[in-house]
C-alpha cells in the first residue's frame, strides 16, 4: 500500500485498519494460492519437465528464480510473474494515453511509462483532412500542427518492431490529441484490460479514457468528427476560444478526484467504480476538495468492503 499523505484521527485509523483487514480476508477467500515473490525468490515448480519460463523469471542453478516483484501466475506449463509496481508492459491492441516528448523525422516520440519511448509514425495516423494518401515532405514539415511537444495523445499499440521498439497507431477519429481535461498518472496494474477503454459519461458530459499504461484522461466530451462535417472545419478554430463551462470543469475535478482516491487506496479502476465514488461523494454532500480528505477516504474503503462482500455472496449463491 502506497504511503498515505493523509492525517487520520484515531477512530478513522481503526476503521481503516478494520476495512483493510476485511478486504485481505475476502481476497484470500476468492483466490486460493497467489504466491507473491520478490526479486531472487525461488519459484517452486516441483521438478516438472518442460516448464516454460515467462516474463520475470529466469533459471539459476537449475531453479526457476523471479527477476521481478509480483505475483506468480501459471498457465499450463507456463510460469510468469505478474508485476504490480513495475513499468507498463504493452500488448498489441492496448489503448494508451501518452505525452509527446519529441518530434523526430516522420515520427513523434511519446512517453507512455514503458521502458522506452513509444513511436507514433506519421504514416500510421489519419491526417486531419481525413484523406487516405501518401505522406509528402510538406506533411512532414507540418507535423507540429498536428501534435506539439507536451500534447497529450491517445493511440493504440500496433506492435513491436524487430529492434524491440514499440509502434503506435491512431487510425480512427477517436484517437488523437486530447484537450480540455486532466491527465492523471497512476500505477498501470490498476487498469484492467477490458473490452472498452473509452467511456463517455453522459451524465457529466465527460470523456474518460483509461489508458492501459496507467495514464487516465478525464476531459470534456468531444464529438468525433465525421467526414461529412469536415467541410465545416473552418468554423472549428473559432470555436476553440470557447471556454469549458464551469459545471463541466467541476465534473472533471470530481471524477479525477475519485480516480486519485481509488488509486491511492489501490483499488482496481473501472468506470463503474469511478462513477460510484463520484456519485457517493455527491449524495453525501462532500465537496470536491474534501474528496481527498480523511473521512471520505475511509468511507470509500468501507464501501468497497461491502461491495466485494456482496459480490462474494452472490457468487456463492450461484
Amino acid at each position: 500500500m502506497k504511503e498515505l499523505l493523509i492525517s487520520l484521527n484515531q477512530t478513522q485509523k481503526v476503521r481503516l485498519q478494520a476495512a483493510l483487514q476485511h478486504l485481505a480476508e475476502l481476497a484470500s477467500q476468492v483466490s486460493s494460492s497467489n504466491l507473491a515473490v520478490t526479486v531472487a525468490d525461488t519459484i517452486p515448480v516441483n521438478n516438472e519437465d518442460g516448464i516454460l519460463k515467462g516474463h520475470g523469471t529466469t533459471e539459476f542453478d537449475g531453479q526457476v528464480v523471479a527477476t521481478l516483484c509480483g505475483i506468480v501466475e501459471r498457465v499450463n506449463k507456463l510460469v510468469y510473474v505478474r508485476t504490480l509496481r513495475a513499468r507498463y508492459k504493452p500488448e498489441v491492441g492496448d489503448i494508451i494515453v501518452g505525452r509527446v516528448i519529441e518530434i523526430a523525422p516522420k515520427r513523434w516520440r511519446l512517453e507512455i511509462n514503458f521502458s522506452q519511448d513509444a513511436v507514433l509514425m506519421l504514416q500510421s495516423m489519419n491526417l486531419p483532412d481525413g484523406i487516405q494518401r501518401r505522406r509528402t515532405a510538406v506533411d512532414e514539415l507540418n507535423m507540429r500542427s498536428i501534435f506539439e511537444e507536451n500534447d497529450v495523445v491517445c493511440a493504440e499499440v500496433r506492435g513491436f518492431q524487430h529492434d524491440g521498439s514499440l509502434h503506435l497507431q491512431a487510425r480512427s477519429q477517436k484517437y488523437g490529441k486530447l484537450e480540455r481535461g486532466q491527465l492523471l498518472i497512476i500505477p498501470a496494474y490498476l487498469v484492467k484490460r477490458r473490452k472498452q477503454h473509452f467511456h463517455h459519461l453522459e451524465q457529466y458530459g465527460l470523456d474518460l479514457i483509461l489508458g492501459c499504461n496507467g495514464f487516465v484522461w478525464i476531459g470534456e466530451h468531444a464529438e468525433p468528427i465525421d467526414s461529412e462535417v469536415l467541410e465545416d472545419r473552418d468554423k472549428i478554430p473559432k470555436d476553440k476560444q470557447r471556454d469549458t463551462p464551469l459545471e463541466v470543469r467541476r465534473n472533471i475535478c470530481r471524477i479525477s478526484n475519485s480516480v486519485r482516491l481509488l488509486s491511492a487506496l489501490g483499488f482496481a479502476l473501472s468506470v463503474e467504480a469511478i462513477v460510484d465514488t463520484a456519485e457517493a461523494s455527491k449524495s453525501s454532500n462532500v465537496d470536491i476538495k474534501d474528496m481527498l480528505g480523511a473521512e471520505f477516504y475511509v468511507q470509500t474503503a468501507e464501501r468497497e468492503v461491502q461491495r466485494r462482500a456482496s459480490l462474494l455472496r452472490k457468487k456463492r449463491f450461484v
Partner: protein, 633 residues
C-alpha cells in the same frame, strides 16, 4: 508482369486427363493481361488456332462468361482473436461487411419481390450484367465496336451519372436494409388488406370454419385408414366401379377444385421401390382405371392425360392412378370385355358406366362399407368415425349454418386466413434476412476460446490467446496447446522441425512409412492434443469430425524434414520420402513461416530460450535450393 500483347500458342490445354479446349473463364483471365495500365490504349490478343474449331466452341470460349466469384471466407480462431484484442475490433461488424455476407444476402429467395418494390436489387443485377458485357467486349473486340454492339436499351447505363438507378448507394450495405424495408412494407400492405376484409359475425363464423377444417382432416384420416393397401387390396378387382378425385380448373374464378368422377378398375400394380421391404401393406400401389380423359398432345413433348367428368367431352382411356387418388370403392362391379384395345370397346364400357351412374343417380352408387364389407378393425378408425359423428351433430346445431350467404362468407374467411399465413411467412423470411451469416459459428467459436482459456467471459484476450494471435499458418489452437504443454522445451531443434512438419503437410500418402520411434512418440503426443482440442470444439457445437481432424496431421515427411534440418542434401531427403519435389519444397517453406510465427509467440511469452531455439531452427532449414528465389539461376 504487364504486357501489351497476349499470344495464345494453342487453344487446347492439358488438364491432367486429356487436351481440352480452354474454358471461357481461363480465356478471360489470360487475355485480360493484355494492355498496360496508363500506357496502352488497348491490349492485343492473338489466338493461334491450328485446327478446325466449331463456331459454337469458339463462341463458348471467346464470349462465354467469366468464372463465378464466390466468397470462400471462413471464420478462423486467429482472426477472431485478433479482432477481439483491439478496442474497435468487432467480429460481427467484420462479418456483416464481408463479401460473403453480401453474397448470402443476394441469394435470398426473391420469389415474393415485385420488381416495382426493389429498385436496388434490379439495379445491381442490371449493372453487373452491363459491366460484364462491357468487359467481355473490350477483351475480344476494340472498344468502339463494343459499345456499338451492346443492346441499345443498355447503352445509356454505361455512363452512370446519367442513370438514376446506378448512383444511389453502395450495394453491400444498402441491400439488406432495403430488403428489410421492402419486406416490412409488404407486410404492412398485406395487413391492411387483411383488416379491410370485414365479415359479419366473424367469431361464430370462424368457429364454424374451424369445425369444417377439422371435419375435412378427419375425413382424410378415415380415408387413409380404410384405403390402406392392407384393407383395400382384396377389393381392387377388375370391373369394380370406383370414384376418383380429380382437380378441375375453373376458368372463371381461376381456382382449381377437387372433384369426383367415376371409373372402372382394370388392374393394380405394386410400385417397385428400392427399399427392401417384403410386406405387401407397406408398398405403394397404382391402380389402372378406365375413365374419360382429355388427352393433350403437344408437339415434341409427351402427351399429357387429364381426367374429366363422365358427362364431359373426352375419350375413354386407361390410366394408372395412385391409390391416394381413389375416393371410394363401390359395391358395383360390371363385366369388362377381354380386349380393351379397340376404341369402340372402351367407349361401350364407359357407356355402361354412365348407365349405372344414371340409374343410381337418386342416392349415388352405394359404397363398400368399411366395417361390414371390408372388415376394417382398428381402434383409430372407430375413434375417427365417432368424432366425425360428433362433429356432424355440432354442425347441425350451429346457428350459422342456416344463414343465406354461408358459402361466400366461408370463402372470404378462407382468403383472410390465407393472408394471415402469408404475413407470417414473410415475417419469418424477414427475420432470416437480417440474420448474420456465421452467427452460430461465431458463437460456438467464442465458446471454444472461452473453454480453452484463450479469452475471458467478457471477451478480453488472455495469455494463451495472445500466443494464438501470432500463429496464422497452422492450426492455431492445437499448436498453442502444444506450446503450452512444454513439449518443445525438452526436444532438440531437429525434432521440433520434424514435429512442426505435421502441421504443414496435408497430402495423404498411401504407403507412408512410419517415422522412427522418437519421432513417432512426438507425433502421438500431437495427435492426443489435437483430439483434445477437437473434442472441446465438438462440445461447443462446432461442426467438426474429430477423427478426420486428428488424421489431417500427417507424419509422412517427418523423416525427410528431420534429415534436412540435420544438414542432408536435397537428393538425399528425396530418397527418404516418396513425394513430389515441389510439394516438399512448399512444405519446408511453409514450415519456415510457422517457425517465424512461433518465434514471435515465444517472444510474447517472454520465454527467451525457446525464442532462440525457433530462430536456430529457421537458420537450419533455410538454405540451398529449397529457399532459392528462382530456379533459373
Amino acid at each position: 508482369m504487364p504486357a501489351k500483347t497476349v499470344v495464345f500458342t494453342n487453344v487446347r490445354k492439358f488438364d491432367g486427363d486429356k487436351f481440352r479446349w480452354l474454358s471461357s473463364g481461363e480465356y478471360i483471365q489470360m487475355s485480360g493481361r493484355a494492355g498496360r495500365r496508363g500506357i496502352d490504349q488497348r491490349g492485343i490478343c492473338i489466338l493461334m488456332v491450328d485446327e478446325k474449331m466449331e463456331p459454337s466452341t469458339a463462341k463458348m470460349m471467346l464470349k462465354g462468361t467469366a468464372d463465378c466469384l464466390n466468397s470462400a471466407f471462413h471464420l478462423s480462431y486467429n482472426m477472431l482473436l485478433n479482432q477481439l484484442r483491439c478496442e474497435d475490433g468487432d467480429p460481427e461488424k467484420l462479418l456483416r461487411l464481408s463479401f460473403y455476407q453480401f453474397q448470402a444476402d443476394r441469394a435470398l429467395p426473391d420469389i415474393e419481390i415485385h420488381d416495382s418494390w426493389c429498385p436496388s436489387r434490379r439495379c445491381i443485377r442490371f449493372f453487373s450484367s452491363i459491366a460484364h458485357s462491357a468487359r467481355r467486349a473490350s477483351l475480344t473486340t476494340p472498344s468502339t465496336a463494343a459499345s456499338a454492339r451492346l443492346p441499345p436499351a443498355s447503352r445509356p447505363a454505361l455512363s452512370p451519372a446519367h442513370h438514376p438507378l446506378i448512383v444511389p448507394h453502395p450495394p453491400a450495405r444498402g441491400l439488406p436494409a432495403r430488403l428489410r424495408a421492402f419486406f416490412s412494407k409488404q407486410v404492412k400492405a398485406l395487413e391492411k388488406e387483411r383488416d379491410s376484409i370485414v365479415i359479419d359475425e366473424e367469431e361464430s363464423l370462424k368457429d364454424y370454419y374451424n369445425l369444417l377444417q377439422q371435419y375435412k382432416s378427419l375425413k382424410k384420416d378415415v380415408r387413409d385408414i380404410v384405403y390402406d393397401p392392407k384393407y383395400c387390396l382384396p377389393f381392387l378387382q377388375p370391373g369394380r366401379l370406383v370414384s376418383l378425385l380429380y382437380s378441375s380448373y375453373d376458368k372463371k374464378s381461376s381456382v382449381s377444385q377437387e372433384q369426383i368422377t367415376w371409373g372402372i378398375i382394370i388392374n393394380f400394380q405394386k410400385i417397385i421401390s428400392h427399399v427392401e421391404d417384403k410386406r405387401p401393406e407397406n408398398s405403394q400401389y397404382t391402380v389402372d382405371v378406365l375413365t374419360r380423359c382429355v388427352v393433350v398432345k403437344e408437339a415434341g413433348t409427351k402427351k399429357s392425360v387429364k381426367i374429366v367428368h363422365l358427362k364431359e367431352q373426352g375419350e375413354p382411356a386407361v390410366i394408372s392412378v395412385p391409390l391416394s387418388q381413389i375416393d371410394s370403392l363401390s359395391v358395383v362391379r360390371i363385366y369388362i370385355p377381354k380386349d380393351l384395345l379397340p376404341f369402340e370397346v372402351r367407349e361401350n364400357t364407359l357407356k355402361i358406366l354412365s348407365e349405372v351412374y344414371s340409374r343410381f343417380l337418386k342416392d349415388g352408387i352405394p359404397n363398400l362399407d368399411p366395417e361390414e364389407d371390408m372388415k376394417v378393425q382398428s381402434n383409430s378408425y372407430r375413434k375417427a368415425v365417432r368424432r366425425i359423428e360428433a362433429l356432424e351433430r355440432l354442425f347441425e346445431k350451429h346457428e350459422i349454418r342456416n344463414l343465406p350467404l354461408i358459402q361466400q362468407n366461408i370463402q372470404v374467411l378462407h382468403d383472410k386466413q390465407e393472408l394471415s399465413a402469408k404475413i407470417k411467412s414473410i415475417k419469418k423470411s424477414l427475420r432470416s434476412s437480417t440474420a448474420l451469416a456465421f452467427k452460430d459459428e461465431l458463437k460456438s467459436h467464442k465458446r471454444v476460446l472461452r473453454r480453452l482459456g484463450y479469452i475471458t467471459s467478457d471477451d478480453v484476450v488472455e495469455v494463451k490467446g495472445q500466443v494464438a494471435c501470432e500463429i496464422s499458418s497452422a492450426d492455431e489452437l492445437t499448436l498453442t496447446e502444444l506450446l503450452f504443454s512444454g513439449i518443445f522445451k525438452d526436444i532438440g531443434i531437429e525434432e521440433i522441425v520434424a514435429l512442426l512438419s505435421c502441421f504443414v503437410w496435408q497430402e495423404k500418402l498411401q504407403d507412408g512409412r512410419k517415422p522412427r520411434e522418437e519421432l513417432d512418440l512426438l507425433f502421438s503426443q500431437l495427435q492426443e492434443t489435437a483430439r483434445r482440442v477437437s473434442n472441446v470444439q465438438l462440445d461447443c457445437k462446432v461442426p467438426i469430425d474429430v477423427e478426420s481432424t486428428v488424421n489431417s496431421f500427417r507424419p509422412d515427411i517427418m523423416e525427410a524434414v528431420y534429415a534436412w534440418a540435420k544438414g542432408s542434401k536435397f537428393f538425399e531427403i528425396m530418397e527418404l520420402s516418396s513425394v513430389f519435389e515441389g510439394s516438399l519444397i512448399r512444405a519446408i517453406r511453409r514450415l519456415e513461416e510457422v517457425l517465424q510465427q512461433l518465434t514471435c509467440a515465444a517472444k510474447s511469452l517472454g520465454e527467451t530460450e525457446m525464442e532462440d531455439k525457433f530462430q536456430e531452427a529457421v537458420v537450419k532449414i533455410k538454405r540451398d535450393i529449397v529457399f532459392a528465389a528462382s530456379l533459373y539461376l
